[in-house]
């Protein structure tokens, strides 16, 4: 018993430390010399800012294996971190950098500086994780494998399938549905919004489409990869018709509403490799005259979709559109 009380007696008899300059704040509790905080742990100490230590809990050295723990003169081991409060601030407790670092570590909060400083280009007209609401105009150029079902009344005769091209021009309205906070900045992790536009293929086939476009960003940089998914209702607007005409002519054409969907892997908002399909519903109700009935049709396509502002996607789509019109003969 006498041996274990000896350090406390020695501490009680130890003279008070000399006040530092400037005049220090009163020390709430003294610490053993061995448990003084590291100079680097408290930057205020090096700046001469007086500090008071709350809940002093000296760092517990590892007990020696040969010495029983019950005979150690050290104070009980604390479960929590030590927090140092700046004295004389005249406000709420203000913790130092080491305390903030401990809190960040406890809650797995990123400690490095913001990853990105530069903003997006073109006032967000090219999609970017650093943008909130924005719009973009995309153009798709794709190889397409088209097909059309035959008429069951004719024994299923005629079930053509052919290779073609597809050009699609869409306006996307991107709404940030899942923002991400990094520091004092917001980044879009996921966007979802309406979109619509026009689709073209061989034979002057023209569809309108309206639907939803989804993009999930896999990073926060300007060239961050992304996953895109869009789906839309599609409806025939026009095509080249030869009925009662020596030369084909593009005319308004009726068709029931079908749908299209695609998935893409993109880089920034600049472009994406896209794989998708389209289905055209048949118009074959009993009360519809034979002359306006249409068969079910569809297509699969793979191509490149990108923002028209940097030119290449627009040029590729227009070229695909023109070449498809001239080179592909619709069965």
């Amino acid at each position: 018993m006498f041996v274990s009380l000896a350090p406390f007696v020695a501490l009680a008899l130890q003279p008070a430390p000399e006040p530092s300059v400037p005049e220090p704040a009163p020390v709430v509790a003294a610490e053993p010399e061995a448990s003084e905080p590291e100079p680097s742990a408290d930057p205020r100490a090096s700046e001469g800012i007086p500090t008071a230590v709350v809940a002093p809990e000296p760092e517990t050295p590892e007990p020696e294996a040969a010495e029983p723990a019950s005979t150690s003169p050290q104070q009980p081991v604390a479960d929590n971190e030590r927090f140092t409060v700046a004295a004389g601030a005249g406000g709420p407790p203000f913790y130092d950098e080491a305390d903030v670092a401990a809190l960040r570590a406890r809650h797995n909060i990123r400690t490095e500086a913001r990853e990105r400083e530069e903003g997006p280009r073109w006032r967000c007209l090219i999609a970017d994780p650093a943008c909130g609401r924005n719009i973009e105009v995309n153009a798709l150029a794709a190889y397409t494998y088209r097909g059309r079902q035959g008429d069951v009344r004719g024994g299923g005769q005629g079930d053509p399938r052919w290779s073609s091209g597809r050009a699609q021009y869409d306006l996307w309205v991107n709404l940030p549905v899942m923002p991400e906070v990094v520091g004092d900045k917001l980044f879009s992790r996921m966007t979802l919004g309406p979109k619509g536009g026009l689709i073209f293929s061989d034979g002057g086939s023209t569809w309108g489409n309206l639907g939803m476009a989804f993009r999930y960003w896999l990073g926060r940089g300007r060239w961050a990869p992304s996953v895109e998914f869009s789906s839309a209702l599609t409806f025939k607007i026009g095509e080249q018709q030869t009925k009662d005409r020596p030369e084909p002519k593009w005319m308004m054409t009726r068709g029931p509403v079908g749908f299209t969907a695609d998935i893409g892997i993109g880089v920034g908002g600049f472009g994406a490799i896209v794989l998708g399909g389209q289905y055209d519903s048949p118009l074959a109700r009993e009360d519809v005259p034979d002359s306006v009935r249409t068969s079910a049709a569809g297509a699969f396509f793979i191509g490149f979709r990108g923002n028209i502002l940097w030119g290449a996607p627009a040029a590729a789509a227009v070229a695909t559109h023109a070449i498809t019109q001239r080179a592909v003969e619709t069965p």
């Binding site: 409806f235 068709g255 789509a317």
Partner: protein
Amino acid sequence: MSPSLSAIALSSLLAASSPADSADETDLVEADEDEDDDEYGPFFEEEAPSDLEYLGQPTPRKHPVLSVGDGAFCFVEGTYCKASMILSADVGAGIRAPASDEGPDLPYAQFTFRGGFAIRPAMIRPNRDKRKAWGAWGLGVVSSWSKGTGSVTVRGSGQSLTEEETNSTTVFRIAAINQIWLSKRKHATHLDFAFGGAHSDVLTSGVRLWGTHAEVGMGFGGWGGMFLSGDFLDRDTRVVLGFRGHGIAAAPIIAMALVGLAAGGAL
């Protein structure tokens, strides 16, 4: 000296000053009055400040996008525009439902060009900041022209069926539009309600008649939106769901489509 007394004193001094000087000093008087502004309530409150912002949209623009006169007139509808031009193109699809003895319901699709303008009659200025003037209500006039798919009629019964068909349907509309802007954020969402008349081909009659046009839409600023509209004419009803984009965004799409069709020899 209280702010109100200082304003009176400053006003007295300004009355004796030259006109050139009074322009600048008047602003000081208004600034003093702002401190006594007793307007309070949900419609007079400014947007709550946020510590978070997108890197791409760091600060509110001083003026709405593509506007003149501090938002007095905007070429793209905006949250803080006092008057706006409406200019859009859209595609839509739906159904054409003729009278029961005129034939079956058939799919219908159209493309449309729309123009007009809208004003914000009741804009409230929190703290008299002209740039922050905002009102939920918008009122305007829109006119549109559409080209849609043709009509098919089947009349008679049994062996005496008569089928007729047209290539396309042209529609002209004019309507009053009411808008409700749902927030003060940039490019805010708004609901649009348009009611007016439609002048259109009626089925396969070759006659153009006036009917009723009604539309409910939702827009995102002035850049794009979706809508559900109907044209109700004598024995001819058309209902369409569509997507529209502002003319600035739609113009390159239309240009690319026309160039592609022309280069491909489809026109």
